[in-house]
Symmetry: C2
Subunit: 358 residues, 2 copies
């Protein structure tokens, strides 16, 4: 069977990891890379090829504009790691050209824009998926078993999570993540997206009845409008009394932990987002340590054939090969965006409680 | 030197642990125990004596009323584990009788009542201290060193903590902790007190500029007034952008973790309240595990001479022997109460931000 042929739209830093994941997926190839200049895409391709431990496939084609990639007849699917504010147009153009779309998170600056993107995908019968790698981690099935086992965690009460990293140097003023015109959701979109997504997954895609959010630190803005959130805390309130508190930040050390507490025990995962972390050899329920390698985890920070990134592209290619659009992926991306939007709306209106989508 | 002679005022469950701690302190003895009936205090004493692995000292005197204990000429200090709503009167009576006071937490139902209690102690020159055992844990000095080491955690950004246990059976209706007329602060006073206290300790007793709180679950009340909080989440906002989120609950499994996150690393302690926990052999900074026994910790759930409870009574006795009242203990109890009160005030007024003491 022919591999799924990918086009990478932009040479953002995260594309490096995912280029490798596409190569390691076993059922996909990178067919073309587009930058805003031919020189840029050539340089990117040369760097990735030089870094490859062995030749995976033919060298991808370098393209000098995003439009050429969208129009390319031998590109089946596009991976779009553009800044959030630029995604809508290119997702819609890709869908209209019949390309399947794997879109980085946060998918859009608002659910209104995401709906336009998803409508275009639906009309053109192309698959849409957001780039939340942990959804493809083998560990997830094992965590679900444990959550469902009545003898383990018991009825849920509380989820707590934190996802942060320390932005280097003059991050607050210069990094793209801190620029409100490109990333108006700031750390809430970049990091909180994962905290919210995991909580929704735990709750089997039940939307919270209401949410509350607070911007703890905000970047200065250039145009006098609101700045990009650099540090955010939020709380989600689900039916039946389950609640979730999360913290995300560009201003604290690298951490990515989640605790799912039930009446009987708490499950704690120290690396819920990026599991390829050599420093963490286990996760825990109460005081029981569960070795990662026992659940198919690879240690080490290198992307491997079984890494969640490789699995993501492999799953995507399998979906496309199946010939039927899987509507669950756009749906859970939309739910995540709804909750993100509601958290920001709360923060922007004095921390009042907001009903997602209400 | 003569040991400090304690009177235990009420035969509450927690008095069992602290009776043992007094005995193990090495510089204190239990001189008398008072219940509301002579029969009750006799039964309590007999049970504790039977449980003792060896004879520590002479059998304490059983008293049939709290007033007799307060008046007892051979009692130097009283330990008061009465329900919160009953504490004020007995603390004041004890102080007026010249007895030093170790008072369980939450100290009072409000800072206004606590101020009356502390005024009485000050007027009568007796020592006041609240029963926060972890303040006397050897680990605290080591944690302070680590927090102060610029190469470790770095400038602080966020504290997160959770302290919970699952109330058994018909806890919501029957347990004293859920009865608003006796424990109007509910889990916020019983458990949140520790979360707040640890945060204040980390912040070197700086009060938060503002706080916000939310009652997640409330007990039904008998008189139509507000019920006792059974599940609470709060957030503290300190000068310089440091914040703290905490969760406390009678409705979730037993957990007692805290994470202190700086720019460079996070310190995580899985058992910050009751360190005598055989299941946890270490705490961590980032990925570095720090063995407990290396910092003087005893494992096992049994109270030992070096347990924090024994150390608390030993320290108290040393203070009293020193002959000078240490004003820092009432002061930090008062700050804790101020923040607890502000969190509850926020929760009772639509989660608005409240300035402690403001």
């Amino acid at each position: 069977m022919q591999p799924l042929r990918w086009g990478i739209l932009s040479t953002a830093g995260i594309a490096v990891k995912n280029w490798k994941a596409i190569r390691l997926s076993g059922n996909s190839v990178v067919r073309a890379v587009a930058s805003r200049s031919l020189e840029g895409s050539r340089r990117f391709i040369a760097a990735q090829q030089a870094d490859a431990p062995f030749a995976f496939d033919d060298e991808p084609e370098a393209l000098g504009s995003y439009a050429e990639l969208i129009a390319h007849p031998e590109v089946d699917a596009v991976y779009i790691p553009l800044p959030t504010a630029l995604r809508k147009d290119w997702v819609i153009r890709a869908a209209e050209a019949g390309k399947h779309v794997l879109c980085e998170k946060p998918c859009a600056v608002s659910v209104a824009e995401l709906d336009e993107m998803l409508d275009a995908c639906r009309r053109n019968r192309v698959q849409f998926m957001d780039g939340v790698m942990f959804m493809h981690n083998e560990r997830l099935a094992r965590v679900r078993e444990l959550l469902d086992d009545p003898a383990r965690i018991g009825p849920l009460r509380r989820i707590n999570s934190a996802f942060s990293f320390l932005g280097k140097g003059d991050f607050r003023s210069d990094n793209i993540r801190a620029r409100a015109e490109l990333e108006p959701l700031g750390c809430l979109g970049d990091l909180g997206w994962y905290c919210i997504r995991y909580a929704l997954w735990v709750m089997r895609w039940q939307l919270p009845l209401k949410v509350a959010g607070r911007i703890l630190t905000e970047a200065g803005s250039r145009d006098g409008g609101p700045g990009s959130p650099l540090e955010f805390s939020g709380e989600l309130f689900f039916e039946g009394g389950v609640s979730c508190g999360f913290y995300c930040s560009f201003l604290a050390n690298g951490q990515q932990w989640i605790t799912v507490s039930g009446e009987q025990a708490a499950l704690r995962i120290a690396d819920f987002v990026n599991t390829n972390d050599a420093c963490e050899a286990a996760w825990e329920i109460g005081h029981e340590r569960i070795p990662k390698d026992g659940s198919g985890m690879e240690l080490g920070s290198e992307t491997k054939p079984d890494s969640q990134e490789s699995r993501m592209f492999r799953s995507f290619a399998e979906l496309v090969r199946g010939g039927q659009v899987d509507e669950s992926w756009p749906e859970i991306a939309r739910k995540t965006q709804l909750v993100v939007d509601a958290c920001l709306a709360s923060a922007r209106s004095g921390n009042r409680e907001v009903v997602p989508g209400g």
